[in-house]
């Protein structure tokens, strides 16, 4: 048998304290399409950046065609025949297609000869692969699908034998994606090796020969695509975690406190991430939103909390209608009575260089309780912070300490204490226990259930399926921006896993 196209042996990579890749082994056979799946943050992109020489591995070895190579920078990767199509295109928007393709591979100090070569090569690639694109078009005027094609052409022009595509279909329409897959199959037929990184299992099943699954920085399994199933992959991706149990009584839902009708939300790139979503959360119940990260949950939370402007639809919060046409106002949402524990406490929940007591009133600093004339009432703030520290067992119990010096679990408690102690009627909670130690998880879960029992309406978003199942009274599953199903808390993990993977309800029932 021929040497594999590329082999990774024991690749390790840390960013500070975070181990993004833990001794990864991977073998990709020549002339195959090899899928790599995993949730966002599983370490896929880091691994590919190491192969492309964008980062150096701390340990481990890369072999291309059986020979050990040192990939110290992208040049070395290109020389080894590795090409990469980045998730965010590495194109210069105001240059032409020809200029983008030749950048870094001009072949001589003057452009004229290189331009002629690129043109001839583009014509050949167009004829061979149907990769049609106007060589003189300015890249920013091209639709996204064509821009991606330029990225592929860049790699092919550099004689890449191994092509890595990082989440290539995220920005494509379905028909553009289908065309891309045709192109990839054709390249495979010519003996090129393709590594496809994605979190969409459907694509993996449709096009790959082999598939490797990553979870939390580890390569957990490699399968032949023909011998695996969406369900198995979903389970491998999400992983079986220690089963969490939370003691709680049956919910006694009251009036609807938050109702969402036909809500559509676009992300910063203008891509719709939440599509026509409707649901209701009642007082005294926890509604959990399950889903693989990146399926619109974040944008949904941001729209509900007023951080992101919704495109269209209706939100009724505590009986007040929020007009999506008006500029969104997080302060207004808070005043109406909606607390928000953001998914990412470092980016949205806390200002890390601030003292603990400052963070514990963040967003509520205009409350008369903390005012003394024109100034903040520091005594009141600190008294208030000390009460929360006691009530939520935040350690160390020092309200003057910089927030960055608290552990993840304690930082999360600071945010929870701030939002819960305002006694909101509706509480939006994103990833309440991400990066939190087991002891704190239990505490946080109990607090959430206590809020429910006090008659609050709670919307919980989490990528931890166990957490969703343990806490929720109703479970909504989000996939590709849609709510694809609703289940009770007793729904099985595999049933939810299938829904999360986008297998529709009928198939899941079979």
């Amino acid at each position: 048998m021929a040497e594999p196209a590329i082999e990774l042996i024991g690749i390790d990579k840390s960013f500070g304290a975070v181990r993004a890749n833990k001794s990864i082994d991977l073998t990709v056979e020549r002339g195959t399409i090899h899928g790599i799946v995993g949730e966002n943050g599983a370490g896929k992109s880091t691994l590919m950046s190491i192969i492309y020489g964008f980062y150096q591995a701390d340990r481990g070895e890369i072999r291309v065609g059986g020979r050990r190579v040192e990939i110290t920078d992208p040049n070395a990767a290109i020389a080894a025949g590795i090409g990469m199509v980045h998730q965010h295109f590495m194109l210069v928007d105001n240059l032409t297609v020809v200029e983008n393709v030749m950048l870094g591979a001009e072949r001589s100090p003057l452009l004229r000869k290189g331009i002629a070569t690129v043109r001839a090569e583009l014509r050949r690639l167009e004829a061979d692969h149907g990769l049609e694109v106007d060589p003189d078009a300015i890249v920013e005027n091209l639709p996204v699908g064509l821009q991606q094609r330029v990225e592929i052409l860049k790699a092919l022009y550099r004689q890449a034998d191994i092509l890595i595509l990082d989440e290539p279909t995220g920005v494509l329409t379905p028909s553009e994606a289908d065309h891309l897959f045709e192109v990839l199959k054709q390249l495979r037929a010519e003996g090129k090796t393709i590594i496809l990184i994605t979190h969409k299992l459907r694509e993996i099943m449709a096009i790959t020969d082999n598939v490797s699954v990553m979870r939390q920085g580890e390569m957990v399994a490699t399968r032949k695509t023909a011998e695996t199933s969406v369900a198995e992959l979903a389970e491998l991706m999400v992983g079986r975690r220690v089963l969490l149990t939370v003691d709680k009584d049956v919910a006694k839902p009251g009036d609807p406190m938050l109702s969402v009708k036909r809500l559509t939300v676009k992300d910063g790139r203008g891509v719709p991430m939440v599509k026509d979503v409707s649901f209701t959360v009642r007082a005294g119940e926890i509604v959990g939103i399950a889903g693989v990260a990146g399926n619109g949950q974040s944008e949904l939370l941001e729209a509900l909390s007023g951080i992101r402007q919704a495109e269209s639809g209706q939100i009724v919060l505590c009986g007040r209608e929020i007009d999506p046409a008006k500029e969104s106002d997080p302060a207004e949402i808070r005043r109406i009575g909606c607390g928000h524990v953001p998914e990412d406490r470092h980016h949205m929940g806390l200002v890390l260089p601030f003292e603990e007591n400052e963070n514990s009133i963040l967003g509520y600093q205009d409350d008369p309780r903390y005012q003394k004339g024109l100034l903040l009432d520091l005594t009141a703030m600190r008294r208030d912070a000390r009460d929360k520290i006691e009530g939520y067992d935040i350690r160390p119990a020092d309200c003057r300490l910089k927030t960055a010096n608290f552990s993840g679990g304690n930082q999360q408690k600071i945010v929870l204490a701030r939002e819960m102690e305002r006694d909101p009627d509706v509480l939006l909670i994103g990833q309440p226990t991400r990066g939190v130690d087991v002891g704190a998880i239990e505490f946080i879960h109990k607090r959430i259930v206590a809020m429910r029992d006090a008659g609050k309406a709670i919307l919980l978003v989490s990528v931890e399926l166990d957490e969703i199942r343990a806490l929720s009274d109703r479970i909504l599953v989000m996939f590709a921006g849609n709510i694809v199903g609703e289940r009770g808390p007793d729904a099985s993990e595999s049933e939810l896993g299938l829904l999360m993977a986008g297998v529709d309800e009928k198939e899941a029932a079979e």
């Binding site: 992208p74 290109i78 194109l91 240059l95 200029e99 950048l103």
Partner: protein, 323 residues
């Protein structure tokens, strides 16, 4: 009515006054196209003017003066480079600092070296750039219209004027016809694309910053050793900022940069002429108002009232590899 000779005179001084602007604006073009904003054109011109005048005064050689001026300017542009490329500092802060240092240093050094209140000794003979007469300038002087244009405007300029205007097509050619130019245009727009193409963003930007220093050196040397006969304190008088305005007004493109500089040079030339002149209806034009015109136009242009400026997208942002 203006007669032909005074019109030619006006054009002639327009060209001479736009030359330092053109050098400085082209200098800024290289730097900013690479993504390094540079408001220290002013300071670099000033230090180059001082260094070139000092060297020319001490050694009596204008070429030596030019070289020393360029070296001083490149030295300052490397400070800006280290601060904004290697240490990823704030480019505006670094630029402002260079302007301050140049303003102070030229006066202190000038006083301590020459003791003439911040001036350098007057240059004469080989210490100054002198006019070059193009072949046949005398012969065609009497040919109507074309004769005076050739002999009065094209001929009889100092060599640096020709260098400045030849830099325009050369810059265009470098930018759009060479590998370096392609990479320069790319790195100011999307340095990550350049990095992933296997090109060093750092080295590319350093080269751009060095070229900027060289051209600012020419600008300063022109002021002190061609236009004037020695350095006087603050002799750049905001020309670096005007060059910056011209660069923005011209949308970072070489040929429009030349026209923008000619426009500013023209306003400057007019202000020298019409100040104090009695005009019908309007009355006497105040000298102060007219000499303020280029600066007023600068403010208007920089405030973005004219056209839409689209600076290089990655301008002002230090390049950090994304995780």
């Amino acid at each position: 009515m203006m007669d032909l000779s005074s019109l030619l005179d006006l054009i002639d001084s327009t060209i001479r006054l736009s030359t330092p602007l053109l050098f400085a604006a082209l200098a800024g073009l290289y730097s900013e196209r690479s993504g390094i904003f540079d408001i220290s054109l002013e300071g670099k011109m000033l230090i180059a003017a001082f260094a070139s005048a000092s060297a020319a005064a001490v050694w009596g050689s204008v070429m030596l003066g030019l070289c020393v001026g360029i070296l001083a300017s490149v030295g300052f542009s490397l400070i800006h480079g280290v601060a904004s490329i290697t240490y990823r500092g704030n480019q505006i802060v670094s630029g402002v600092a260079i302007n301050f240092i140049a303003a102070g240093l030229t006066i202190i050094l000038g006083q301590s070296w020459f003791g003439q209140g911040g001036r350098t000794p007057s240059l004469f003979g080989g210490g100054r750039f002198t006019a070059v007469d193009l072949p046949g300038a005398e012969a065609v002087r009497d040919v109507p219209v074309l004769g005076p244009i050739y002999s009065g405007i094209l001929s009889g300029q100092t060599p640096l004027v020709y260098v400045a205007f030849l830099m325009v097509p050369l810059t265009w050619w470098i930018l759009f016809r060479t590998r370096f130019g392609l990479r320069l245009r790319a790195v100011g727009e999307n340095p990550a694309a350049v990095d992933t193409a296997g090109i060093s963003v750092t080295w590319l930007r350093y080269r751009a910053v060095i070229i900027c220093g060289v051209l600012c050196g020419f600008a300063g040397a022109y002021l002190a050793t061609a236009q004037a006969a020695g350095f006087t304190r603050d002799m750049t008088a905001g020309k670096g900022y005007i060059a910056l305005a011209a660069l923005i007004f011209a949308n970072w493109k070489p040929v429009p940069v030349m026209f923008a500089c000619l426009l500013f040079g023209f306003l400057d030339a007019i202000s020298i002429r019409v100040g104090g002149v009695e005009l019908p209806v309007i009355g006497q034009i105040s000298v102060q108002f007219v000499s303020a015109l280029p600066y007023i136009l600068t403010v208007i242009l920089l405030a973005g009232f004219v056209g839409k400026a689209t600076p290089p997208k990655a301008g002002g942002v230090p390049y950090v590899k994304e995780r």
